[in-house]
């Protein structure tokens, strides 16, 4: 009897302890596995953060280099302008005056162009507001300087919508080219610009009493028009020309990506 009891008790205790031990091992294994998985997740996160940080650093470095370059170039070109002006004021030879004036003009234009590039590169202006105020400033000033009466209207715009630097630059250059052409060829008395933003960006330029497009003039304009079409294609936008009475109506379309607001709920 006692032997039997002993056997049973031993078996009982042994199996109980064994099972308890097994479960204990199981729990600690699970804990370790979780820690491992978590540390992996952390490592992955940190790696991603590093990548993002690297990219940011790269971008910052690029911006810094670009900025230094612009400063240097701008500075140098300005000196060229000043020296040119000196020559012009000290010479009586008209041919020299003419040529040197061209040098001065070229350098001024270059500085302006770089200014525009800087504007396009600066992500602070990557929105509708940035584009429109720059367009407005330029158009009104340009048309005023060339004695073309003008109006500039903004309607129904969501100023916060994102527009990339590339799109802004191309749009701006298209408008710039169009206005240059208008002033040079269209002989318009008045140019009205209006911009609407719902849902897509639409810039409408109305040249009042303009001679419009003449095949002859088209040939002269040649490169200009081609460039415009190319730029619009680049940014996946559209441009259309229409004559109404004596007016020339130019419409530019660009699709805007509305911002998707996400609500993040952390688990």
């Amino acid at each position: 009897m006692r032997e039997e009891e002993l056997i049973v008790v031993t078996a009982f205790t042994a199996s109980l302890l064994l099972s308890a031990l097994l479960i204990w091992f199981f729990i600690s294994y699970q804990k370790r596995k979780n820690e491992y998985v978590n540390s992996q997740k952390d490592a992955q996160l940190r790696e991603q953060e590093l990548i993002i940080q690297n990219q940011l650093n790269l971008e910052n470095e690029r911006n810094r280099i670009a900025s230094e370059m612009h400063d240097d170039l701008g500075s140098g070109l300005t000196v060229i302008k000043y020296l040119s002006d000196n020559i012009v004021s000290n010479t009586f030879d008209n041919t020299i005056k003419e040529d040197v004036n061209k040098i001065a003009t070229y350098s001024t234009v270059l500085v302006k162009n770089m200014s525009e590039i800087i504007w396009a590169m600066n992500s602070r202006f990557d929105n509708v507001q940035g584009l429109i105020s720059y367009l407005r400033r330029f158009s009104v000033e340009f048309l005023d300087d060339n004695n073309v009466s003008n109006t500039f209207k903004e309607n129904d715009l969501n100023y916060d919508i994102n527009i990339s630097g590339e799109k802004r630059r191309n749009l701006f250059l298209v408008v710039k080219e169009l206005l240059h052409n208008s002033v040079k060829y269209s002989k318009a008395k008045e140019i009205n610009i209006s911009i609407t933003g719902q849902p897509d960006l639409e810039i409408v330029i109305i040249e009042k009493q303009s001679v419009g497009f003449d095949p002859l003039i088209m040939k002269e304009k040649g490169n200009g028009l081609f460039n415009i079409e190319k730029r619009m294609a680049n940014i996946e936008g559209k441009i259309s020309y229409k004559r109404e009475d004596n007016d020339m109506i130019i419409k530019i379309f660009l699709h805007l990506e509305p911002e998707i607001k996400t609500n993040f709920k952390s688990e």
Binding site: E5, V8, V9, F12, S15, L16, Q30, K31, K33, N34
Partner: protein
Amino acid sequence: MITIEGLIKFYTPYHYIGLLALVVAVYVYITKKKTFPLFIPFLFVNSFVEMFLVYYFGVKIKNSLVVYNYFTILVILYYFYVYYDFFKSKSWSKYIVLVAVIWIIYVIYVISNEDMFTSFKNYYLIGLVIISLLIFIFFKGSLESKYLTDITKLPMFYFSLGILLLFFSSLTIFAFPDKLLINSESNLYPLLIIFSNFLLNLGYLGTALCVKKN
């Protein structure tokens, strides 16, 4: 003679733990409206059988074995239900039902062919073996799960723990129930069973408390 005194003398710690588990489960249900599947009815029956019926039959017909023979069917069926419910999102959960049905058929066979009053039926042990398998699947699944971080936060863990400890510890004895429990004069084996049941009811209590914590 059924006396309160007799009842009290009859009770061992595991009875009280079982009763406590019932109380906690009811409390949690009333206050937080949360519960383990069919837990309260089961615990109620569990306490009723263990704390009254067994004593009653023991006094009235001097045979409480028959109570256990029928009670264990209920217990195993409840366990089947619990694990079926837990795995019901899995494609193979219907096989649990199938196995349960087979087991029931076997039980019916035993009932119709054997004397329920004299020997401890082995379908309990067989049922426990099957349930242990399901518990093993539960533990393994928890390891592979991407979302589960701490298994000790699940009520199912404590429930399974109780059953597992009961199973492993009392396995030796339930393998030879007639020799060791019924026809033996030794008090040791019943004591061991009481200890195993203590662990089982601790598992029930743990489950109830875990539901409360969540």
